[in-house]
């Protein structure tokens, strides 16, 4: 395509984008305007109906719980896809890099880094558990807490080395937590059907508003999502780490 034709093409596309964007922006509610009727209604009724103080949790795990189910399976599908894509191929092998100077040991990370990793990983586990379990009360929930939990594992890698992580990383546990989390959500949804109501009906007792265990199935769904996301993100990181550290093209005759 000549430069002239490309410029013409760009001009047409840019004009079309400007018009669509302009029309779209003109239709937006003005900055700082009142919340929508739907939001106002949910703010009003969710406390009474579901006994939660974090309305966002009530929306994502109850009023539109089926959407969250699909989102969870998007993550499961993505993690599965990454695992398949990043496996050692037929012309690749898993081995640690060749030690070119075996007489010299690898220097361990400095005490400061090591101490930071010990401190940070325990803190991250604690924060992650807090975020997962308090989803019904304060901002946060299974997804955010799950990623925080998984990041504790990255910090262990930061403070030690690949061999240590490889040795202590519970691969089977991570994979099963990914699967159990995803299908736990479906199972809790089926409880509604078993109780003779629709899928994902809030069938468990709602408890007292403000208690950590309140909101019926919402904290349970938070737990399953937390399990799935923590496992999924840890697998994701370890697959990428494997690619970086040990998976390499086979050398010599094939």
């Amino acid at each position: 395509m000549s430069r002239r034709a490309r410029l013409m093409f760009f001009a047409v596309a840019a004009a079309a984008l400007a018009v669509t964007l302009g029309v779209g922006l003109a239709g937006l509610p003005s900055f700082g305007s009142q919340v929508s009727a739907y939001a106002r209604m949910l703010n009003e009724v969710s406390g009474r109906q579901r006994h939660v103080t974090d309305v966002v949790s009530a929306i994502t795990f109850d009023y539109r719980g089926i959407d969250t189910l699909f989102e969870e399976f998007i993550l499961l599908g993505a993690v599965t896809g990454i695992s398949v894509l990043l496996r050692p191929l037929s012309d690749e092998t898993r081995q640690l890099p060749e030690d070119k100077a075996p007489d010299r040991g690898i220097p361990p990370p400095s005490p400061a880094v090591w101490l930071l990793a010990v401190f940070l990983s325990s803190l991250l586990v604690l924060t992650g558990l807090e975020t997962v379990t308090h989803g019904t009360l304060t901002p946060g929930g299974g997804f955010q807490g799950g990623v925080i939990l998984a990041s504790a594992l990255y910090v262990v890698y930061l403070g030690t080395n690949y061999r240590t992580v490889e040795r202590y990383q519970p691969d089977a546990l991570l994979e099963s937590s990914d699967g159990v989390g995803a299908f736990g959500y479906v199972f809790i949804g089926l409880l509604g059907l078993m109780a003779g109501d629709v899928f994902l009906t809030n069938v468990v007792g709602l408890g007292v508003t403000g208690n950590p265990i309140s909101g019926g199935i919402i904290p349970l769904l938070n737990l399953t999502v937390g399990l799935e996301v923590a496992g999924g993100f840890a697998i994701l990181a370890s697959e990428f780490l494997d690619q970086t550290a040990v998976i390499r093209t086979k050398t010599g005759p094939r």
């Binding site: 946060g140 990041s151 990428f240």
Partner: protein
């Protein structure tokens, strides 16, 4: 008061977003993108969207830079 905070957040997002585009080295870009993500989280927080801010922090400041950095380490290793 809250308008000032929102204005600061918006300026932060605009400046760091531009910085992400203008950074040419992918390694540095990953870090700048992390700061951009943090700015977005601050913007959401200033508008009282705590849940969205938390999601933004974990995705923008933990997951995304990690995957970018590891992918770049792999590419660099293969080139050697």
């Amino acid at each position: 008061m809250s308008e000032v905070i929102i204005a600061v957040a918006l300026i932060w997002v605009a400046a760091s977003g531009t910085a992400v585009v203008l950074t040419r080295d992918p390694l540095r870009q990953a870090f700048v993108a992390g700061f951009f993500g943090l700015g977005l989280a601050f913007l959401y927080l200033s508008m009282q969207a705590g849940d969205v801010a938390l999601s933004q922090i974990v995705v923008g400041a933990i997951a995304l830079p990690l995957i970018v950095l590891l992918a770049m380490a792999k590419v660099r290793k293969d080139r050697e």
